[in-house]
Point group: D2
C-alpha cells in the first residue's frame, strides 16, 4: 500500500494512467495542478506523484519540466504512457451549440469541430474532466473529454476518437523524493537537466557531443529559459540507459565539468521497454577492458 | 494606418507591447487566444498580429510555437520585448483572502505569496487582465496582474513588483502572411523550423553542425513533438543573421537537404539590436571570394 | 603520341605502371628523382609525369607530396596502381652472400632475409632497378628487385614474391601543368592541400567537418610540416568525388574560407573505379533543389 | 653512465642532438639506419636510442614512425630539437663542379644551388655526414653537410646557412624499452598510435573528437598505411599532457574502445617546455569533483 498524488480532478487522463500502474489497495489523491501534485510528495503527504510530461492534452508539460528542473528536488522512478483518445459527450442527444473543453484538447480536435460543428461556441475549461463535470451538472451542452470521464459522469458518447491526430499518446512520470534509484532493467531511460552558463548555440553542441562520444543516444531534448532574462537556458534531456551504466556515468561527469550545473532527474525503465541502441563498443565490459588497459599502461607494463 | 490583432483581452502585456510598436492611427483588435489572433491574419481580417513567444506570463509560448511551426504559414516580420512586472491589486484596502491570477503568473509570484499571504485562496483565471477585470466588478478580493491592467480597471496597487524573479521579460513576435522579407538591418534574427525524420539525438547534432560549420550562432532552440506518436520531433530555431546573408542561406540549404522538411519563419531585426558575432570568415565577402576561387579552379585557371 | 616523364631508372615499378597506361607510340623518359621527373613537366620537356605517391618501395611518397603541395603548381590528371612484387635475383645460382636493394625494399623483405639469408650483407642502392643493374654487371652477388627489372637485365629469379606483406600495392599519379580538368567519370577522386594558420588540433577537426557536413568522404589524409618551424602544417587530402560535384565544390569553398590557403591538386578517375558512397542527400540534384527552395524563400514566395 | 645508440654515421645532426642531452661519461654508438638504431635498444645492446622523428634532413621520419608504430614495442622517454643548418664545404677553395649530399638536404638547398651553382653535378649520398667524409678523402669536390660534420672532417666552410628555409629545426626522440614512465613535468607530451578498422574519414573525425571532448589538444597527427593494402591506416598522434592526467587517461580509454587497437608511445617533457592549454574545466581536480558527484548521485544522496 502506498499513497499517490495525481494531476486531477478525477477522470483526467492522468488518473487513467495511474490506475494502470497501481493496485486496488493503493490510495490515489487528485490535486488541482502540477505544482500542487508534486508538492504533495515534497511535503510528505504522499510517497509518489504522477504527472504528465509530454504531449499531454492537459497542457502542463512546461510546468512539469520547470518543476522538475528548478523546483525543490524530486526524481523520476517510473514512467507510463496511455493513448490519447477524445470523445464528444453530452447528457443526451441534443443540438451541439456549445462545446466545453480544455484549450489544448480543442486545438487537437480543431479540424473535427470545424467540419462537424463550425458554429458551436467553444467554452474553455481548466481540464477535460472539469468540462465533463460541467456538462453533467447541466452547465453546458456538450464536452470534448476522455472516455474515462464520460463514463465517470455517466455521459452519452456522441462520437468517439474525434482527435485530429490518430495514434497520439501522453507520457507520464512517477516521481518521488530523492533516494534509492531503481535497479537496471536493461531498457532504462535517464533524465537530467543541464544548466548552461553563457553562449547558447555552441554550448548545446558541446552538451550533445558529451553523450554521442560515449555512445549514448538521446530520446528527448527541450530547452527552457531558467528565469529572469531571456538568455540563460537549461536543457532537459532524456538519454538511453541507466546512471549505473558506465557510458551514462562518464557522460554525466563530462556534463558536470562543462556545464554551470547538472541535475539528475532519475533512471527508470522505459514504458515501451526498448533497449538502448548503443554503438561504439560502449557497454560496461568495454569500459572495464579499457580501464584495465589504461592501468597497465600507466604502470609501465603494457603499451 | 494598419490593422493589428493582439492576444487579448485588453490590458494584457501583449497590448502593452503592441502599443510600443504602433502609432495612434493604427487599429488594435484583441482576440481570445493565440490561435484566434493568428487566424485573424490568415483570413485577412488584419495585416499583422502580435503574440507572445517566449517566457510569457500568459502561458502561450507552446501554442505560438506550434501555430507557427505547423499551422497555416505565417512569417515573423518584427519582434519586441517588454519587462514583466506583476502588481498585487484590489478595489480598495481589504484583507487579501483571495488572489485571482493566471496560473503562470501565480507560479512566478509563488515565493511572494507564500511569504505575505500564505492562506490566500488562489483563483486561477484565463489571463491576468481577466483577473483584474473580475476584481474590478467585485467578483474576487484581489488580483495579481500587470500595472497596465490595474490602471485600465482603475484598481488600487497594493504592492508593485511582486514577481519572484527580477528582470524577467517577455518576447513578442509580429507576424504577417508570407510576402516581402524585411531588409537587412545588421542585427537580424532568422527563425525557422527543422522537421526531422527518424532518429532524434544524432539528427539534432547534425542540424546544429549545419549552422556552426557556416559560422552561424543560434539564440534559441526548442524541440516540439510534431503530433501523433511521441517520437517525431521538430526543432524551432532562432539563428543570428538574415536569410539574405550568405552563411545563413547556405546553412538553410544544408538543413533543407538533411531534414525531412524545413519551414522558414522570417528574418527580422532583433529587439536588442545585437549584431551577429560570427567568426570563421563567414561574411558575405568571404563567401564571394571563395565562390570566385572555385570558379577559377573549375575552369582550370587556378589551383 | 605524348611525352611522359617517369621516376627512373629503367626497370622501376614506376616504369611498369607507366607502360600500363600508355601506348607504344608514346615516349617514356626516365628521370633521376621525383623532383626532376616533375620538373620535366614544369619546364615543358614532357606533357605528363608519373610518380609514386603512396606506399611505394621507392620511398618517395613524402617527396611527391611535398612537390605537389608546395612546389610550382601541377595537377593530377590520372592515377594507377600496381601490385608490389619483389624477387630475389642473381646472374646464376650462386651462394647469396650479398643482397643489393633499395632500403625501403629491404625493410619490406626483412623477415624473408632474416629467415633465409641471415648472414647476407645488405648493400643499399638508390633504387631496386639500380640494384638489378649492379648485379647484372657483376658488382654484387644478388639483388631484391622487381620482376620487370629482372627480366630487363636478363637475371635469374632465385625466388619470387619474397615481400613480407602479401597484397601490397603502390599508387602512382600522372600529373600535368594546370589546365583542363578531366571530365566526371562517376568514380572520381579529388586531391587538395589545406594550409592551416595556427592551432593544429582544432583546425584539423574543422577541416574534416567541412567535408563531413556536405557528405563528402575522405580516402587519404596526411599532415606535413610546411617548412621552417615545426608548428605550421598542411594537410594533403584525397576526397571522394569531382570538383564539379556540388558537394565537393561547397566543401572546397568552406575550406577556402577557414584555411590560410587551399591548393587544388586535381579531380581524376580512381584506379579502383569505386564510386563515392555519399549519404546525407548530397547529390547534385539535392543541391539544386535546395538552391531553388532558398531562392523562393528569399523572394518571399515560399516558407 | 648509460649507453646510447644514435642514427649515424658520426657527424650527423642526430649526434649533435645527442651530445646536447648526454654527459661526457655516457657512451654514444652510431648505427647505420633508424631500424638498426632502435634494434640496439630492443636487443639490449644499449639502454637508449636517439632518432629523428620530424622534418629531419636525414629523411628518416617515416621509418621512425613506422618502427615505433608497428615494430617491436618501444617507448619515448624524452625529446630534443636542434636547428637545421646546412653548410657548403670543400677541402679548399676550388671550383664547385660537384656537390655531394643527401637528397633531402639537396631539396632543402635547391634554390641556393640553382642560383649559385646551377651547373654543379649533384652526387646523392646516404647521409650528409657521408658526403662530408667523401669530400674529405678527395672523392668529390664539395658537399652540403652540417657544420658539425665540416668541423669533424676538418673541411673548409665555403658558405654557411645555405638552406632555403631559415629557422628549420629537427625533432628527435629518445626511446627505451617499455617500463617506468617519466614523472609529470607540467609540460608533457603523450605520443600514441590509433589503429583504425575500416572507414577512414569518419573514423579520424571520431578519434579527434575523443580528444577534444576531454579538452586535450593535439600537436601532431600523421596517417600512415599499416601495410598490405592501401586502405588500412593508423594515426600517429602527439597530444598535450601526460598519461597520468585524468583527461588524457580518459581520452585514451575512449580511443581504446572505438579503435581496432591503440599503442601507447610514451609521455615525456616537451623540449619547448610549453604547458598544455586545456580549456573545458579539464584539470585533474575537475575530474575528481565530477567523479565524487557521480558517486553521490548513484548512491541516491544527491541529484
Amino acid at each position: 500500500m502506498a499513497r499517490y498524488a495525481f494531476l486531477g480532478p478525477q477522470g483526467t487522463f492522468t488518473e487513467v494512467a495511474l490506475e494502470g500502474i497501481t493496485s486496488s489497495e493503493d490510495v490515489r489523491i487528485p490535486y488541482a495542478n502540477v505544482t500542487a501534485t508534486l508538492d504533495a510528495v515534497r511535503n510528505g503527504e504522499v510517497e509518489f506523484a504522477l504527472v504528465p510530461i509530454e504531449n499531454s492534452v492537459e497542457g502542463v508539460v512546461a510546468r512539469t519540466l520547470d518543476e522538475l528542473a528548478i523546483g525543490d528536488p524530486l526524481v523520476i522512478v517510473a514512467e507510463t504512457t496511455i493513448p490519447v483518445n477524445f470523445a464528444l459527450v453530452a447528457r443526451e442527444n441534443v443540438e451541439i451549440t456549445q462545446i466545453a473543453t480544455h484549450p489544448h484538447a480543442e486545438s487537437q480536435c480543431r479540424k473535427y469541430i470545424a467540419q462537424k460543428y463550425p458554429h458551436a461556441e467553444i467554452i474553455p475549461m481548466p481540464s477535460t474532466a472539469a468540462a465533463a463535470e460541467a456538462v453533467a451538472r447541466g452547465e453546458y451542452r456538450a464536452a470534448i473529454t476522455s472516455p474515462s470521464a464520460a463514463s465517470r459522469y455517466d455521459l452519452l458518447v456522441i462520437e468517439d476518437e474525434v482527435g485530429d491526430a490518430k495514434g497520439a499518446e501522453t507520457r507520464f512520470v512517477l516521481v518521488s523524493r530523492p533516494g534509492k534509484i531503481p535497479k537496471r532493467s536493461g531498457y532504462d531511460r535517464t533524465s537530467l537537466v543541464a544548466f548552461i552558463g553563457a553562449d547558447h548555440a555552441g554550448a548545446l553542441l558541446e552538451v550533445l557531443t558529451e553523450f554521442s562520444v560515449r555512445g549514448v543516444n538521446l530520446t528527448f531534448i527541450q530547452s527552457r529559459p531558467t528565469g529572469a532574462g531571456l538568455g540563460d537556458y537549461h536543457f532537459i534531456i532524456d538519454a538511453e540507459g541507466h546512471v549505473n551504466d558506465e557510458r551514462v556515468g562518464e557522460a554525466l561527469m563530462g556534463l558536470r565539468r562543462i556545464c554551470a550545473d547538472v541535475r539528475f532527474l532519475g533512471s527508470y525503465p522505459r514504458a515501451d521497454k526498448i533497449a538502448p541502441t548503443t554503438n561504439r563498443n560502449a557497454h560496461d565490459e568495454n569500459f572495464a577492458e579499457a580501464s584495465e588497459w589504461l592501468n597497465s599502461v600507466r604502470s609501465g607494463k603494457k603499451i
